[in-house]
Amino acid sequence: MVELLVDLTLFFMLVTTAIAITYSRHLFGVVMMAGVFSLLSAMLLVSLDAVDVAFTEAAVGAGISSVLMLSTLTLTARIEKPSTRSPLIPLLVVTATGAAIIYGTLDMPSFGDPNSPAQLGAAAQYLANSPADMHIPNVVTVVLASYRGFDTLGEAAVVFTAGVGVLLLLSGLRRRRRRGDTDEKETS
């Protein structure tokens, strides 16, 4: 009962933050609210027992992404330009996608159901065998770093490439702009 109320309150704050983000024109405020959105979703993940995802959310959502967004903001304007297109078509697309996703959840087993397919397949074997196989107490760690080690290695390579790409993009732009600034004083 208490947990349900906690989840509902967190969801309420999450939705309010999302609405406030869409209404705000001030990009710096949007970055701040995105940080709060990430904090709220991490709280939700902790309260739903997905601790490893909450860890990722802490490192990526609250840490890296606000840094990246702020360093992007140093390169662009700080006020969003008003959009001239009508919001009708995006609204339709979003509503249809949301309805499809909600329709998809109708078939899902309820939260924490021990008879759901996810619990009956490989998960039971992991739970039974991992202490003897790997001698690591945390099953999630065993699955991510050992049973699916190559998968995780691939993911790490993808994330690393993306990070290097973003860093190169940001630093190159800044240098070019600084050179432009010395040539023709203060164009902005």
Partner: protein
């Protein structure tokens, strides 16, 4: 007891969120995010006790650290208008109005 703390933290979060949406200055928003981060750390700690498994405090620890990094990045943004290497100190026209 933990329920009391959770309720107090929730009310505090809602109040701080209103300040975050309202503004009016940018620094009010930074302040609200900062305060919200501290409340998040406390909330994750308390919710662990409330659920009877306070073993997940590592996340709260991680958040306590990352929050600080976030605030310092914002400070650098305001002070130098750049996040990466900063070579020059801010001149009059950059900081003044």
């Amino acid at each position: 007891m933990f329920v009391v703390a959770v309720i107090a933290l929730f009310i505090a979060m809602v109040l701080v969120l209103i300040r975050l949406y309202w503004g009016p200055t940018l620094y009010d928003r930074v302040l609200a995010v900062n305060s919200f981060g501290t409340q998040t750390v406390l909330f994750i700690g308390v919710i662990g006790f409330l659920a009877g498994r306070p073993d997940f405090l590592d996340i709260a620890l991680l958040y306590a650290l990352i929050n600080f990094v976030g605030t310092i990045v914002i400070l650098k943004y305001f002070r130098y208008r750049a996040i990466g290497d900063v070579h020059q100190t801010p001149t009059e026209e950059e900081t003044g109005k």
